[in-house]
């Protein structure tokens, strides 16, 4: 797959907005309303985004990193004019996302992950032609642009096949081609690598990088730490509807630079044993990863490798395999941030909102 991005002549939009930010969100809040119960229906408010502020520079690749349900997609949908904020403001290329929807839509491309968002029963070429019309692409440039985009995403030669026969990776690449049809200045990528195999994910990251090389501003949401670390100029970690950290990958790692990560391979570890680790005042955070026959405990501590014996003592009779002490990665920083922020507050806010 090539990584050459087509640069056809495009809109008369400003290269950079007057305020210098391609994307700007100020105190964005979004609350959903839903009902519980059948006979005695209760209306509840679910806060999805609770006061998010950030700004993205033109040409920057900005990452929103967070677990499922953190508010990433809701934030993106407000920025691309599909959802109205409950309060707060947001601007894209200087245009307000609530008032200037048409101007915003002309300047943005939106790509989401997963199988949906394409017309399965027609070919990829028909999909691209259709969306090119909807996006107002000049008929004179449609053919060359579609050809260039198919080349860019590696679908040349397969474009006349029905989309229903495409693999997930091919569909994802077609999504990207669709999102770039009108040569948008700002591209929103909402978990674009979800469900892709490692090769497909790597190709996709190359494509994303090529967008930035071509001068696009990219806002990428993901819950893959290595993806954010490899691609993004800056990363905002979002948890329970709030930004809990914002900076470069190095900045985020720096937050736990004084910590050591002890990886303990266990077999049949109990919740009680993990609870004893978490309760220990010398332990910063504990994350558990399930493997085939074992569980890997990732224990953060400021005590360095010296804490290892103490940890093994707390695990009691648990069968232990390999034990390794190492430097923290971005993933460890992320786990620390998610473990120490948001959840209790989110639960409290949700409980309090039941009317």
């Amino acid at each position: 797959m090539t990584t050459t991005l087509p640069r056809p002549a495009m809109p008369s939009a400003p290269v950079a907005p007057a305020d210098g930010h391609a994307i700007e969100a100020v105190d964005l809040v979004r609350t959903y309303h839903t009902h519980l119960g059948v006979l005695r229906r209760r209306k509840i408010e679910v806060p999805a985004v609770r006061g998010i502020s950030f700004a993205v520079r033109p040409g920057e690749l900005f990452g929103l990193l967070g677990p499922n349900g953190a508010g990433k997609t809701t934030t993106i949908k407000m920025l691309i004019t599909l959802l109205l904020p409950t309060s707060g403001t947001a601007r894209v290329m200087g245009y307000d996302v609530v008032r200037d929807t048409t101007e915003v839509r002309k300047r943005i491309g939106y790509v989401f992950g997963g199988d949906r968002g394409l017309y399965d029963r027609v070919s990829a070429l028909d999909n691209l032609r259709y969306f090119a019309e909807l996006y107002g692409v000049d008929p004179d440039v449609q053919r060359t642009r579609i050809g260039a985009l198919l080349e860019m995403v590696g679908l040349t030669g397969r474009e006349k096949e029905k989309v229903e026969g495409y693999s997930r990776g091919m569909r994802q690449r077609l999504h990207i081609a669709r999102g770039l049809l009108h040569d948008p200045e700002v591209v929103f990528l909402d978990e674009p690598s979800i469900g892709l195999d490692p090769v497909g994910a790597r190709e996709l990251r190359q494509t994303v990088q090529s967008l930035v090389d071509a001068g696009k501003t990219v806002l990428l949401t993901t819950h893959y730490m290595f993806e954010a670390d490899a691609l993004c100029d800056r990363i905002a970690v979002i948890n329970a509807g709030r930004i809990v950290a914002l900076g470069t990958g190095s900045d985020l790692k720096g937050a736990i630079a004084n910590r050591t990560i002890v990886e303990i391979e266990t077999f049949g570890v109990t919740d009680e044993a993990v609870g004893r680790l978490r309760a220990d005042p010398e332990v910063g955070a504990v994350n558990t990863e399930e493997r085939d026959q074992s569980q890997i405990l990732l224990v953060q501590s400021e005590r360095g490798a010296h804490i290892t014996q103490r940890l093994l003592g707390l695990l009691g009779e648990t069968r232990i395999g390999k034990v390794v002490a190492r430097e923290p990665t971005l993933e460890d920083a992320y786990v620390h941030l998610i473990a120490t922020t948001g959840d209790d507050e989110a639960r409290a806010a949700r409980a309090a909102s039941v009317q």
Binding site: Y32, V122, L134
Partner: protein, 262 residues
Amino acid sequence: MSASRVIRLVWFVTWFNVRMLLASEFFILTTFISPLIFATLAFFLFQSGGGTAGQTLLYVALGAGMMGVWSTTLFGCGGAIAWQRWEGTLELLVSAPSRYDFILVGQTFGAVVLGFYGIVATLAWGVLLFGMPIEATFPLVLPLSLLAAIVSLGSLGMLIATTFVLYRHANALGNLLEYPIWLITGLLVPISVLPLWIKPISYLLAPTWGMEAIRGATIGAEPPLLAIAMCFILACAYYVAARYTLVFVLDKARRDATLALQ
């Protein structure tokens, strides 16, 4: 948007919607078979009631064909939106820079184009199997009456489809509207046999005028010019109503976050 851009957009959406609908086996079954079934029922009911082949049979057959066209239109307009919601493309259409009402018009035209098949198929079915003569009082006006009748059904389908954007279960309501529209617009029985209080509603519905245009061209005493004009006037009024309904509906959908719900 310039006029040429709008025309191109509507044409392209029409073409695409026709292709999408023809790619659906269920739609093909509905579109291609149901007008023939309705026409067959009408022929036998007409014969068992003592009717003889002639202009009245043509009128009855076309009425039956229109019932099939209405089924096609409801599926093609409203069903398409429900399908787009399920496929995840509705959000992309709504968030495209093009105005959504033009997209909806194109989708409606797509359904209307295929609906036109229903009329042609009904005529061919009647001629080949039941020996129905293509005789009309005003044969030159008949094609225009048929066009007006199909436009009337399409425009009503478009107006109803606007609500499908807002509610994921609105498609069920749309299905419920299939039979009442047959009844109160004169597709199934003449509206002269309906209770008096229903008639004002009937005359606000464009298909009533569409059926009147067909009746006038086949067995009427005068060319149905008023009925034809009313079809197009009401179709324009429905478009304006649909456009302003969409402004409200899309705002509410953004407020209530219903576009992505399946």
